[in-house]
Symmetry: C2
Subunit: 246 residues, 2 copies
C-alpha cells in the first residue's frame, strides 16, 4: 500500500533546531524520508544534527525553500495541522482526526504533504486555506497545544499504523492451545480435592484470565508442564497414601 502514497513532510518557518532535529528523527522512526523546510528562522547546525540522532541523513537531504507555495508544489493532497480546530462555524479550521486522515489516505494513491506550522503561531489562516484537509490531534482541552515534534510524531505514527498494520507482535495462541491449558488446570483443580462448589469458580476464573491474556503458544507450552507435573505428583502422593492406608 505504502508504495502508492508518497509523503513529504513540510515544516513552515520553524524556530528551534531541537525541533527540526527531533522531527527528522521522528520521520525516520516511521519510515518517512522527504523533508521540506520553509524559511527556517534558525540556523540548522550541530544542535539539529544531534537531536536528529540516527536520522541525520533525513536532515542532510532536507530541502530548504522560500515559500509555502514552493513547498507544496507538485503535491496532490496537502494536509495542514492545527492545534486550534474550528467549531462547525469556522469552516477554514474544520478539522479531521489523525485516524480519519488514515481512513482518507488508505485508498489514496499520490503525493501527500504533511504540513506543520510554526512553534509560536502555527499555520496562518492563508496557509490553512491552501490545504486540502486540516488535521487536529484530539487532546486535553485545558492544554491542547503539543510541541511541534510531538504533534508530528503522533501523525507519523498514525499513518505508519495505517500503512503497516500490526495487530500483534506475537501470534496469539490458538483456541485449542488455550483449551489444552485450561484442561490441565481443571485436572489440577480436580485432584487437589477442593469442595465441589469452589471447583466451578476456580475453573471459570482461570478460563476468564486466560481469555483476556493475549497468550502466545510459547507461553502456554511453558505452563502446560507446570500443571501436568503438579497433577502427576499429587496423584503419586495419593497412590502412596492409599497404599500405606491398606
Amino acid at each position: 500500500m505504502m508504495s502508492s502514497v508518497r509523503i513529504r513532510v513540510v515544516l513552515v518557518e520553524p524556530l528551534y533546531e531541537i525541533n527540526i532535529g527531533y522531527v527528522a528523527r521522528a520521520m525516520k522512526n516511521f519510515a518517512l524520508e522527504e523533508l521540506y523546510i520553509v524559511n527556517p528562522r534558525t540556523n540548522i547546525g550541530i544542535t539539529a544534527m544531534k537531536f536528529a540522532s540516527h536520522a541525520q541523513d533525513v536532515l542532510e537531504k532536507a530541502v530548504i525553500v522560500k515559500s509555502f507555495e514552493e513547498a507544496i508544489k507538485g503535491v496532490d493532497y496537502v494536509v495542514g495541522t492545527t492545534g486550534k480546530h474550528g467549531r462547525e462555524y469556522n469552516i477554514r479550521r474544520s478539522a479531521i482526526t489523525p485516524e480519519q486522515l488514515c481512513e482518507a489516505l488508505k485508498d489514496f494513491s499520490g503525493y501527500v504533504a504533511l504540513v506543520f506550522g510554526r512553534e509560536d503561531i502555527g499555520l496562518t489562516n492563508e496557509e490553512l486555506e491552501k490545504c486540502d484537509v486540516i488535521v487536529t490531534i484530539p487532546a486535553n482541552p485545558k492544554y491542547p497545544i503539543l510541541n511541534l515534534s510531538h504533534a508530528a510524531i503522533i501523525i507519523f505514527y498514525e499513518l505508519y499504523k495505517c500503512f503497516h498494520p500490526v495487530k500483534s507482535f506475537l501470534p496469539e495462541a490458538s483456541h485449542e492451545e488455550k483449551e489444552r491449558l485450561i484442561e490441565y488446570f481443571n485436572e489440577l483443580v480436580d485432584v487437589i480435592g477442593l469442595p465441589e462448589h469452589r471447583r466451578y469458580t476456580a475453573k471459570m476464573a482461570f478460563r476468564r484470565v486466560i481469555g483476556r491474556a493475549f497468550a502466545t503458544s510459547r507461553e502456554l507450552y511453558a505452563l502446560y508442564g507446570v500443571f501436568r507435573r503438579a497433577v502427576s505428583l499429587i496423584r503419586e502422593y495419593e497412590n502412596l497414601k492409599s497404599k500405606r492406608g491398606r
Copy 2:
C-alpha cells in the same frame, strides 16, 4: 470511564532535563498528572521547567524516589515500555502494541503505572520482569528507537483516545442533507444542457466525492445556495432567451 483508572507515569533514571520537561508537557496534553521519577541522573531545574511549558505544575508535583520498587508501590498494573520487543522465545520481552494496551485497560479499574526506561539503556531485564505487561510501539525496523518523550506521548495519546474516544470533531452531515446537495447539483447538471451520456457521469462523480468528504451540515448549507442560485440564474436566462426568440 477514566474515573475508574488512575494513571501514574514513571521515568526511570532519566538523563536529560529536556526529556523530563517534555514528558511533563506531553502528560498534561493528554490529561495525566501524576509523575514519579526514579533516581534522576540530572538536576531538574530551569531547563526542565522551560520544556514543560504550561505543564510546570506537573513537574512541581513530581515525586522523586530512590528505586523502581518504590515507584510502583501500591500500583495494580505495571506497564513497562521497550523499543526492543522480544521474539516469541524471549518471554520477558513479549510485548503488546499501544492499541492492545488500550483494549486491556478499557474495562480495567484500578491504579496503573506507565514505566519508561532510561534514554541510553531503557529498562533492565530485572525491571521488565517486574512489569505485568510490556508495550512496544510498532515502528520502522531500521530505526525503531524513539526519543523518550516521543515514545511517552504516543502511549499517552493512545490511552487518551481510548478513554476519550473522538470519532470526529465535527458532526458529519446526515444522509438527507447530503442527498439534498446532490439533488441541487443534479438539477444544475440538467439545466446546463450537457449531453445525456455525460450527465450520468457528472452526477455519479459528485455523489462519490461528497460520499468521501466527511462534510458537515454547515459546509453543505454553504454549498446549497451556490447551486440553487446558479440553477435559478440559468433558468432566468433560458426564459429570457425563449421570450426573445418568440
